[in-house]
Every structure is written in C-alpha cells, then in structure tokens.
Amino acid sequence: MNFKGRDVISIGDFSKDEIIHILKTAKEMESNPKLFLVGKLMGTLFFEPSTRTRLSHEAAMEKLGGAVIGFADPAVTSKKKGETLQDTIKMVDQYVDVIVMRHNHDGAARAAAEVSKVPIINAGDGANQHPTQTLLDLYTIQKSQGKFDGLKIVMIGDLKYGRTVHSLAVALSHFKCEQYFVAPKSLKMPKYVITHLKDKNIKFYETEKMGGVLSKADIIYMTRIQEERFPDRAEYEKVKGVYILSKSKLKNVKKNMKILHPLPRVNEITQDVDNTPYAYYFEQAGNGIPTRQAILALILGAKK
C-alpha cells in the first residue's frame, strides 16, 4: 500500500484497508519508534487556534527526527494583509515537505490540497472534517478493546454539531460495531449519517436517555453540549444536567468499558471519573502521537 504524497483531507477518502493499514503503522510507531523523518520539515499553518492537534502533530514530527516551522496565530501572517489561502499554500510548499493546516472555513483543506505540491494534512476545516482525530479515535478503540467487530459504541451529547462523532460513526461503519446515539431531540445525529448507516446495514439505536445504554457499552464517547447550539434557552436548561457522566452512573458498566472524549471537556465528565479504570480520554489524546507519526511517515514515504 503506497501512501506517499497522499493528502489527508477527509476520512471518507480512505478505504477500510487503508484505515487498517494506518492503525497497524500507528501500533508499530508506538512499540518501535525510529527516526524515520530526519531531514524532513513540516509546516504547521494554524489559521485557528488549537492546543492538542498542533502540539501532537509537532511532537509526532520531532519524535521522528523531523523539524517543524509554522504559526499558531494568523494575526502574525500575511493572511492579515489579504493574501489568499491558495497563495499562502503555494508559497509555503516551497519551504516544507508536508503541511498541517487548520482553517476556519469548511473545505479549506481540499482547496489547499488542490494547489499544494506537498501533502496537506487537514487538522480541522471549520465544521467539516478532522480526519486525524477520527483515526486516533479508531486507534484508541482498537488499542483498548483489541478489535472493532462486535463492539457496542455509545456516543453521547451534541451529535448534531460535533464533527468528531459524525466522522467516527461513518468510519466505524466499515466494521461490525453496534452504534448507540444518545442526544436530546434538537441535537440528534444528522440525517446524512443515519442514511449512510442504513445503506451499510449497520445496527444503530437512537435514544434521549443515557441510563439504559451505559451498561451495554464497550466504548462511551462523550461530547460537550454547548448552550449556544440551542435556539431556545429553556430547552438547554432542560437537558444541560442530563448528559453528564459521573462516577455514580458507572456502577453497572462493563469491566473493560472505556470512556473517550475529544477534549476539551467542561463539565460533561465529572472529575471523580478520572480516577476510575474507565477514564481513557487522556490516553486517547496521547494516542494522537503514534497515529500522527504513522500518517506522517506514510505520506512522506518513510513507511509503506
């Protein structure tokens, strides 16, 4: 399988076999890291702020012996002078071997990739895609459970606006997992995801109540419900305390169940969960390193 020169824009661009190959390479990176990328330079163009995604890409690159240049604040760049995104890319691709980019506009990564001579890794384009997050989520699920097939994955919270859960649900449809969607009526999983799951004959269930499904879960994927997403404040008040995971709610869960969260969390997972064996969200963030190492090594041709 040859990934050399490939862009990483949308999880939908990758086949099941390609995803499995990336996860296998991530495992190799974690168990046997080598200086695969000495002499390679990565450009990080963060037109929007990010903590985890930028730091973990930079850490991944440097741990493989590569170097990093870039910016984390567009205010200091020529974007402020009115330079177009595609012009910025055509300039930066003269300097670096790979570009990691986060941008506030949906579709910016695809537009960048069209003009770039070097591979583009999409680190989030508006509300659209964040494929490396999905890959690290998959890696985390596989690492903690040893498999995908037969798992029951429960996604809770804002399933309407959360791009991570859309991509995760679609990516998991390559495997025989059962998916449970727990959300208030106004924040349900979008129709296009539901249609996709139906087309692929995936078993899924939608409910507003969290209680009944926690004991079934192998993975609980929590997301944050943001007040500004509700057109009606009264509706928010009704649900704001409902989708909070605390230690007391975990009495009947499976022994090896793991809780994931794309972070940052606010109050949807209480601090008392952190010291239970179920908390796995910080490890999940850590899994960003081998996953992104694998992506970098593959698209730069250092691994096949």
Binding site: S10, T84, Q86, D106, G107, A111, D125, G126, Q129
Partner: protein, 148 residues
C-alpha cells in the same frame, strides 16, 4: 407543422429549450442572462412528461456547454433543438453532468468557495430529485442553490 407547435411562432435560426418545468421557465432566462436576445416564451403548456411545461425559443443563439450545464441544473429534463432555416438541425436531451463546476454558489456561507477565490464544484448524487454535494465543504444540497 402540428397545431401544438404553432402555439409559439416558428424560429428561423436559434435554439429551442423545451420541456422546462413550468415554474422554472423564467429562471432559465435569468441564469442565461437573456436580456437583449429575441425571445419567444411559452408557459402553462400541456405536457405528458411534466403536466405543465415551459418552452423558450432564443433567436440566433447556440448554447455553450457551460450554459447547458446551467440549464440542466434548473431543468434536468429539458430538450434542446438547434434550428437553422426553420429546420431542426439537432435535437437532444440535456445530459445531466456528474459534476457542476462554477455553475452554482454553495449554500453553506462558511464554505471556502464563499470566502476565497475558489471556484465552486459539486458532485451529482442524484438527478431526480437533484441532489449535489460540495467538493469542498462536503455539504449536500438540492437544487435550491443560487446559480452563478
């Protein structure tokens, strides 16, 4: 010539756009920017295929591929006839494109194509009803999109 065809005057040279969904007849004029051309327009005409249909005859004009793409976006079942000296030289149904480039504006205001000089590009998911997906922001739309 049949009685039906005579309901709108015959065209010496030009293009006939037939089988337009009745309510979209005037939209075609707008998207093709037909302002100065000699036009004959029929609406509320009986049609077996569509119930009611519209027809537009444009004198001394042949539609470009780009213009046909725009027409197909609004009137996917339209037929086109090229007329020379009152004779039909060529008649064809519009081939519904698999992709639309630079035809319609993306309906997502946060799409890169609405914020930077990037040409719009849609993939056709379904022809009837029309459903397209933006290549960039990946949002899916029906034919309510604004034509460029």
């Amino acid at each position: 010539m049949s009685e039906k065809k005579r309901s709108i005057s015959a065209l010496k040279n030009g293009t006939v756009i037939d089988h337009i969904k009745n309510e979209n007849t005037f939209k075609i004029l707008q998207i093709l920017n037909l302002k100065d051309e000699h036009l004959m327009i029929g609406t509320n005409l009986k049609s077996k295929k569509l119930g009611k249909k519209g027809i537009i005859k444009v004198a001394d004009k042949e539609l470009s591929k780009e213009e046909l793409n725009k027409v197909s976006f609004v009137a996917p079942k339209a037929t086109i006839a090229l007329i020379k000296d009152y004779d039909v030289k060529k008649k064809f149904e519009i081939d519904f494109p698999k992709e639309f480039v630079g035809v319609a504006k993306c309906g997502n205001y946060n799409c890169i194509t609405n914020n930077e000089p990037v040409e719009t590009h849609f993939f056709t998911l379904s022809q009837d009803p029309i459903i397209v997906k933006c290549k960039y922001c990946e949002k899916v739309f029906s034919n309510e999109l604004e034509i460029i």
